[in-house]
Amino acid sequence: MSGRSLAMSSHEMHTLPVKQVVFHHDGLKSFVFPRAFDAEPGQFVMLWIPGVDEKPFSVSDVTDGKIEITAKAVGPFSRALMNCKPGDRLGLRGPFGRGFRPRGRGLVVGGGMGIAPLRYLVHRLEQDRASFRIVLGARTAEEMMFVGDFSRLGAQFATDDGTLGRQCLVTSLAERLCEEERFDLIYGCGPEPMLVALKKLADRAGIDCQLSLERHMKCGIGICGSCCVDGSGICICREGPVLDRAELDLVADFGLPHRDATGARKDAPAMA
């Protein structure tokens, strides 16, 4: 008879004092926690603000004994998070899900908040001496995170208002690079319409892609079903958030309205 315990001790709730808060600009901050974590790039944690709520956040970096997430104020939870100061105790569960599985020469494409997990990804790719290119998009220069970090690695930038890099969609940068160079894999994280465009690009180029999806999450552990995609029905919290091309082909609501906290299909596509 095998063990009877569900214990995966890191999945239990632990509160930790915030060790450091990095201010990027109003409503965009990184939070560093003193905990040794062996998260893979693309994995996420469930972050609990006691008395408020708990939401999924991608790991934006892991350094020895520390884990960092980066958040943008968009609603009640993320605004409450902006008020958290060093020493405040927040709850962390995780890491959860399946992250990026690096392979061959990569094209890293990020948009908006989707840039956060890619930071950790490129740190890992660099460490593994992988060959890769980076293109990133945001509305404005101000909203572009970790510019110094990414510039050092030769990233190209696109903004809606032209305040940093080219004034175009990041997907245009990605398309051009794909015409000029040969890649084995497109890594992508950002708004779902951007991901849809990347998927098409990968299909056309005949290369694989690994795109990180968001769905409404409650448990993070593959139980509640609120993050399941239509079509294949897989759990984004457990088998995602990073899906490959073949898996994306079976996501019936990819780029379409998906489900809210009740489980009903909602009309507006999710933020990202």
Partner: protein, 310 residues
């Protein structure tokens, strides 16, 4: 026919394993996925007449002995649920059990009628969810008379669709509850819902972690309670039983079957084992039957009720 095939309240199932309500059960797509993984039937998340968002997170918490949950019965409402049922039935041959909850026998009846129209293979009646007691007053699952009225109302509305009443171990007498269900026309009993309730306090902040403070206890921690509950119900009535609670391996499933269950629900263990668990447990049951020389799972059902002296 496979040794695992059973008939439950007239429904043919390829395996006695059933996906328990509330786990991966909101959408046709996720239910189909579990069905393809080897479940003999899948149960939907309980639905109410109107949509509910449920409690804020944290509402589901693994704690080492199982899971605490106070999801608060979030669901897309009867409309939404009916649409998922219809889509599932269109695309998947595995039996689908709907699950319903309401605030009164009358409302249960109305909801059952609405859901019956969508054509599920069985309607499970959740009279026992601990997360909404304060909203709906005394739990039906602790009061045989109230529970009997609910069973009768659902039965009247469900037409030819069989009805299973889902009981909780938190009552004075499971035998009396089961008898009330049988008297009022129930075709089956599901037991048990979550135990407890329980609370988990984060000692770093001194706060209960669940936003609802307390939540139902499920997973390995409750297996012996579920086994005892099924044993008591089997002693009291001869309705088919969907034994549920804490199952995470074939041996656990066998305990419930030997206690008297016809089918076995699996929920929380999917956290540890993923949906591959259904295939694994099916194989484990088959191996057990083969080694013991049994030609069908029915042969070991209720074995624990044999007279005890050797």
């Amino acid at each position: 026919m496979s040794a695992l095939a059973i008939r439950l309240a007239g429904i043919a199932m390829e395996s006695p394993l059933v996906l328990a309500s509330g786990v991966l059960g909101t959408t046709a797509s996720s239910l189909r996925r579990v069905a393809l993984a080897g479940a003999g039937a899948v149960t939907m998340k309980s639905c109410s007449l109107q949509p509910r968002a449920g409690h804020p997170a944290p509402c589901i918490l693994p704690w080492g002995g199982g899971i605490l949950n106070a999801v608060g019965l979030s669901n897309p409402g009867a409309e939404g649920a009916a649409a998922e049922i219809a889509e599932f039935k269109r695309t998947c041959p595995v039996p689908l059990f709907a699950s319903i909850f309401a605030g009164s026998a009358e409302e249960f009846g109305r909801l059952a009628g609405r859901i019956a129209g969508a054509g599920p293979d069985l309607i499970e009646v959740n009279v026992s969810c601990p997360n909404v007691q304060s909203e709906f007053g005394i739990p039906f699952a602790a009061d045989p008379d109230a529970c009997g009225r609910v069973a009768r109302a659902v039965k009247d509305a469900a037409g030819s669709i069989p009805v299973s009443i889902k009981l909780s171990a938190q009552c004075a007498s499971l035998a009396r509850m089961a008898e009330a269900c049988q008297r009022n026309g129930a075709d089956a009993i599901t037991a048990i819902n979550t135990a407890g309730p329980g609370m988990w306090i984060d000692t770093g902040t001194g706060r209960p972690v669940l936003s609802n403070r307390v939540g139902g206890v499920s997973g390995p921690a409750i297996l012996p309670i579920a086994v005892r509950a099924v044993y008591e119900i089997r002693k009291a009535v001869d309705l088919p039983i969907i034994g549920t609670g804490g199952v995470s391996c074939a041996n656990d499933a066998l305990q419930l079957i030997m206690a008297g269950a016809d089918a076995v629900g699996i929920g929380s263990a999917i956290y540890g084992g993923g949906i591959g668990l259904f295939g694994e447990i099916n194989r484990g049951l088959e191996d057990f039957l083969k080694e013991g020389g049994y030609d069908s799972i029915g042969r070991v059902q209720g074995l624990a009720h044999r007279e005890d002296r050797p």
